[in-house]
Symmetry: C2
């Protein structure tokens, strides 16, 4: 590694109001750091762009501390070990972890996970076999608890988590309705992924279509979006339904107060529950889940789609496409030459 | 029974907009009906006045069909058997059931429950040992699942259900904070009922006080009120908290859209759940619960307070006091001479 090589980083410059602006970020450059004892230097190849990152930018009580102003933006990423001072890792190993929006990261070996790029491509370890896949798996199965023959509705259905949720629900024998924005996404989840039906929320209020497509009500609603869609789904719950709160992307850039679900009293009417979860709580079971997910991938039962955008410097604009319905599948920023 | 005796009834005249008006009710009178085979004629003594009744007046999808225009208003009540054509009941028996807002009811024996006025007064069978008590018992214990040492917060804490919830939580070894309106109610639940603390929501926003009184967060929030108080409690949830949705009295007369809980994403942050329930689902276990509750009453661990208003004809005004914070404890309408 030539000493003149630099590590570029996106740092949080200001707390965004609404959709992040270019000026909320600082693109900085510093010398590539040296790993200390027990640490590993990773060259980052794929940065996972997740709606949750928007929450980490706010100075608010949440499950993770806010990213501080001036700090490198937090992100999951995958890359290759360049230099290791940890016995479990050697140069060339493929790894994933919370590496940040940067080109190189020094991280304690205990916070890294080694992955095998012969099973799926490296990028898939921040998608179907990464946090995204685990989020779909545990959120649907552990919190939603779908049973064969039940009706599962998922919003953000053409997004990274949503498309996996729908397919896992199909594997489990459920009837699956996806809610997505635009005809192309709706066609994709039905024709390519095998959802039973799709609702294009961009065509207007979804309640009537939702009622027609879920004549026995919704047993599991997996919510990635919040807002009016959450309300419409609450109104159609079946008895003892489960509402899985995974995200609320419609609200993350709101400059007004979050829109709470007006129809929450349907939880009482239908003796239903609404429950939030965080994938990090399932860390101890992620190997088990990854094995099952990998099996479904091998058998062709579980498809995934990575929406890979090249160019580290495009991060601010690429990140924002998440909130503009720009991506189909997992949005990933590719860094460097992608080796 | 003299043939000239009449049965007065309050019938729903119109669907109310907001707080029910006198003109939403018809006071009618008809001959006392005769029981058919398998039926029982009951002279009603105590009519249970419950916030849930407001919901039954709306033409909306709910857990029970709406009361039809022109029909006798639905209500739980307790009374005495006047004439029985059912083998399980005889004249003079004390009974409870869904008898309606009227002075006499003819009802199938299978829908009646016999009660013993030597254990507690008859009125208590529509309160601490009735649906009210069962609501508190199953909602707190079965849905809320409090554990010793945990913090339980209950709103409507000086109301019929709330005051029992708080006391049961104390019996179970919890720290209990009640939210009620006005100094007298707050003093009552702490000094008379043994709550650890009370918050008077009429003094202004409760968030600061709530945080001070629940330094480790709220493990179980039993919600009777909805609105801003639900939001304030969501903001203070502890990890893996349970929010029990029992009612939303602040919203029942709203002429605007129900105010959904803006802070519902705290369910995700704290991996918490919000769940509704209906006491009627626990019918098969109510004897067990009533036995345990009666035991606590005998041991002096569980106090209750019935707010008994006399005069059948006062029903419209008395019912409305529920929504005006007028009652402390269980609001009951006493009919006739109360024998």
């Amino acid at each position: 590694m030539a000493t003149q090589e630099q590590n570029r980083q996106f740092r949080l410059a200001a707390r965004p109001v609404g959709l992040p602006k270019r000026s909320d970020w600082d693109l900085t450059s510093e010398a590539i750091p040296e790993p200390g004892e027990g640490q590993v230097l990773v060259r980052i190849t794929y940065i996972s762009l997740d709606p949750a990152m928007r929450g980490w930018m706010n100075d608010a009580r949440s499950y993770a501390p806010p990213v501080q102003i001036g700090a490198v933006m937090r992100a999951y990423a995958a890359g290759h070990v360049v230099k290791s001072r940890h016995p479990d890792f050697k140069e060339g190993d493929c790894v994933v972890g919370v590496l940040g929006v940067q080109e190189y990261a020094v991280v304690d070996g205990k916070h890294l996970t080694k992955v095998d790029p012969n099973v799926v491509p490296l990028s898939a370890y921040v998608s179907v076999l990464g946090m995204t896949g685990m989020t779909a798996y545990f959120g649907l199965l552990d919190v939603g608890k779908p049973e064969p023959g039940q009706t599962v509705v998922v919003s953000g259905a053409a997004g990274a988590v949503g498309m996996l949720v729908g397919q896992i629900a199909k594997i489990k024998g459920c009837r699956v309705v996806g809610i997505a924005g635009g005809e192309a996404k709706c066609r994709y989840i039905v024709e390519e992924l095998g959802f039973d039906a799709a609702i294009d929320y961009k065509l207007g209020p979804i309640s009537t279509t939702l009622r027609e497509l879920c004549p026995k009500g919704i047993d599991v609603y997996f919510d990635n979006v919040g807002g009016d869609i959450l309300d419409a789904c609450l109104a159609q719950l079946a008895m003892h339904a489960r509402v899985v709160i995974c995200g609320a992307i419609s609200q993350y850039n709101s400059t007004e107060r979050v829109k709470g679900p007006s129809n929450y009293m349907m939880l009482l009417v239908m003796r239903a529950r609404m429950e939030g979860f965080l994938v990090m709580d399932y860390a101890s079971r992620s190997a088990e889940a990854a094995r099952e997910m990998a099996g479904w991938v091998r058998e062709g039962k579980l498809k995934w789609r990575d929406d890979i955008v090249e160019g580290f410097e495009t991060f601010p604009e690429t990140f924002n496409t998440l909130f503009e319905g720009g991506n189909t599948g997992k949005l990933i920023l590719k860094v460097g030459d992608g080796r």
